[in-house]
Structures are given as structure tokens and as C-alpha cells.
Symmetry: C2
Subunit: 235 residues, 2 copies
């Protein structure tokens, strides 16, 4: 919950002002040339980068903007030149973090006629490389917990990531059924299943990996085999 503003009883200098809570707050570069614009963009991403680390480590509420500023090597006030408030910084961060996964997804979607097994493998690989092996896994955990508090975030993730992924998987599954690579229409009806072991991996990694190792690659491979194997005839 965004804490109340500090309502300083200062001068009455509000005259319309910014529309409430509307995206970008980058220093208004009216006359700035590309040099300054570039610098601003760099600043912005420096802040996002620092924010990424801190949010991933501490979650939304436990992240202090003082800490973000410290890690970015700037003063706290500077953050507010680039983002209107903590929540927006958080949302932008999640948007940013989604990019590589989204990109990978689209890349896969653009390439039809590759064996179903290969595509599944690639989907799993993207997830492992871009999430499980990076700090993004912590953002994912955050999303799981905090998502409901930020409708804009879940909306974005559903529309731009989840829906896309499911479409890709579903059409893939359809093809698999037609070509006989898949034994039934389970994946067509429940494409979410493809992501299930991935989510499980992230959760296991965060909570229990120190107690018992989980061979994620192995599990994913075994899982794909389950999905594919139409029939396992003995010799």
C-alpha cells in the first residue's frame, strides 16, 4: 500500500500539475539533445538495475528506496525524477524483466514445423536460462505473492507473456496431435502443464534446494518424455 504523501503545508503551487499516476516521469527533456536523452536513458536503466537486485532480494514492501539509491550510486530524490513512485518503479521493473522471456517466446512462435519435442525443449531452455539461472526467479516468486496486489502487473503478464506462451503451446500441441507426436490432446486442453515443472523448480530452488538437490534438467527431460511418449513398446 503506497503510504500517504507527506502533505507539506507549503505554498499553494499546484495548478493542474501532472495527471495522477501516469507512467514516465523522466526529467522533462524539452530542449535536451540526444546526448542528454541518452544520459537520461542510462540513468533510468541504472536505477532499474539496482531496483531489480533489491526487489528480488527483499520483496516489494521490504525494499527501501534508500537502498536502491545507494546501490545505484545516486541520491534517493533522483529516483523520483525518473519514476513517480515506488509502485511504478516496481511495475516498470517487472515489465523490463519480462522482455527476454517474451522475446524467446515469439522467436519460437515464429518458427513452425520444428519437431514438437524440440520446441518443448526450447521453451524449457528459455525458462531455465532466463529465469531459473538468473535473479529473475526471485521476481517470479515475488509476482506469485504480490501479483494480486498489483492488477496492472498480472494484467500485463497475462496478456504479454502467459497468453502468448499458451497460444504457442496450444498450437504446438495441436500439431503434435496431428502428426502423432503426441498421444492425446492433453496439452491442447491444458497447455499450462508445460509450465508446471518449471514453476515447481523455482519454488524448490528457493525453499528446499539446500536440503535436497533437485536435478532440474533431468526432471524437465523426464517430463517431456512423459508428454511425448505415445507408447513405450518393449522389444
Amino acid at each position: 500500500m503506497p503510504r500517504k504523501p507527506a502533505t507539506t503545508a507549503s505554498g499553494s503551487s499546484d495548478k493542474g500539475e501532472q495527471a495522477p499516476k501516469a507512467g514516465r516521469a523522466t526529467p522533462k527533456s524539452r530542449k535536451r539533445g540526444k546526448a542528454a536523452d541518452e544520459r537520461a536513458e542510462i540513468r533510468r536503466s541504472e536505477i532499474l538495475h539496482a531496483a531489480f537486485d533489491v526487489f528480488a532480494e527483499n520483496g516489494f514492501t521490504n525494499t527501501k528506496l534508500d537502498e536502491v539509491a545507494r546501490r545505484a550510486g545516486i541520491a534517493k530524490g533522483t529516483i523520483y525524477l525518473y519514476f513517480p513512485d515506488k509502485e511504478t518503479l516496481f511495475v516498470e521493473l517487472l515489465r523490463e524483466a519480462a522482455r527476454p522471456v517474451l522475446g524467446g517466446m515469439q522467436l519460437i512462435a515464429a518458427n513452425p514445423n520444428i519437431p514438437v519435442e524440440t520446441v518443448l525443449q526450447r521453451i524449457h531452455a528459455i525458462f531455465v536460462d532466463e529465469i531459473l539461472l538468473t535473479k529473475r526467479k526471485h521476481l517470479l516468486r515475488m509476482l506469485i505473492q504480490e501479483g494480486p496486489r498489483f492488477p496492472a502487473v498480472t494484467e500485463f503478464y497475462y496478456r504479454d507473456i502467459v497468453h502468448n506462451a499458451l497460444v504457442v503451446i496450444t498450437s504446438l500441441a495441436r500439431r503434435g496431435v496431428e502428426t502423432g507426436e503426441l498421444s492425446d490432446d492433453t496439452l491442447v486442453r491444458y497447455p499450462q502443464l508445460v509450465m508446471a515443472p518449471l514453476l515447481t523448480s523455482v519454488i524448490w530452488d528457493a525453499l528446499f534446494e539446500d536440503k535436497q538437490h533437485l536435478d532440474v534438467e533431468g526432471m524437465l527431460a523426464a517430463f517431456r518424455k512423459l508428454l511425448l511418449a505415445p507408447n513405450r513398446e518393449e522389444a
Copy 2:
């Protein structure tokens, strides 16, 4: 005038006392009869019940003990007569919440020689009934996010729930392999797979259910079929 001095001889009875931060803090009912002990137990569970709701709705950090007190219909101070601090209240709550699942697990473990399919079905059913269809699903999401901050919690959950479940599933899988109900040893090597669609369901429910309905029972059934079906021969 804030707070009278009036030095009542109240707090002069400390002699060793409990070690700091160690479990129970129930009002020391030394001479109280069962009536009072009972009342204390009721109070305790009233607090836990209120805390359950509030923690489930808001997560750890966003839960205000003032709110817990309000919902329990008591004063905030009273909470501290039963729990030493917020964290302990939280941990006890999670312990309490784990019981039914743990119980169901043990029940299943105690009954060997039931078809593998049935056992899997029961494991899924317990999870659905006791977690997905209750507010416990929110606690589970919380655990996913906050777990790493509370080692005592993950330790407890691993030892008492997860490990148990995996043992049950593993031995079940072994039996399945022997009897031929399972086509290979995937589940023996990766028993975590059984839980994967369940976790996915909880996450989907929290984030995307309002955007797209997921038929959990159907997905679980389809998934079990994948696990079992050793071969799907056409007629």
C-alpha cells in the same frame, strides 16, 4: 497527563523466566484450573484464526497486528500474552495450517497395496480439498515468497510435509514400476513432479483465474493419465 506513574508492584516477579524467543507465551496459568487453561487455549486459537485470515490476505509484512487484534475482537496487547512476537505468531500459524495436509499424507502412507492411480488421486484430492479450496492456498503463496526469510519455517515444512510426501510418492512409484502400472522410473527419480500441477493450480488461481478459467480437476486427471498410461494402443 499521559499515563499515571503509580508504581504498582506488578512486574516484580521475574525469576529466570523463559529464554527469549522460544515458543509458547501463553499466560502462565500455574494455579489456574482446567477452566482457565481451556479459556486460554480458546483465546489462542481465536488469535490464530484471525491471524490466519489477515496473513493470508496481506502477507507477512503487510499484516498489521492491530488488524489481527481487531478481527479477533481483542486488544493488541493481548496478542503478546499468547505469542512473543509477530514472527512467532506467523510460524505457529503455518504449523497449525500444515496439520490437515500432513494428516492426510500419513493416512495415505499407512495404506499400502492400493492401486497407484488411486493413491495419486488421493494425494491430489487432499491438496485440492485442503489447500486449493481453502484460504490455505494464500498461505502457500506466502510461503513461496517469504520462506527464505524464515528458515525455521522451511525446515519444518521440508521435514514434516515435503519429505514425507516425497517418501510416500517415491515408494508408491517403486511399486508402480514393479507392478507395471508405471511405464518407467520417472516418478521414482522425480517425485516432485506429482506436486507440479498442484502448485501451478494455486498460482494460476491467484493470478490468472479471473482472466481465464482453469479446470483444475480436469488438468490433474489428465496429468495422472500421462503419468500412468504405459501405452495407449489403438484398437
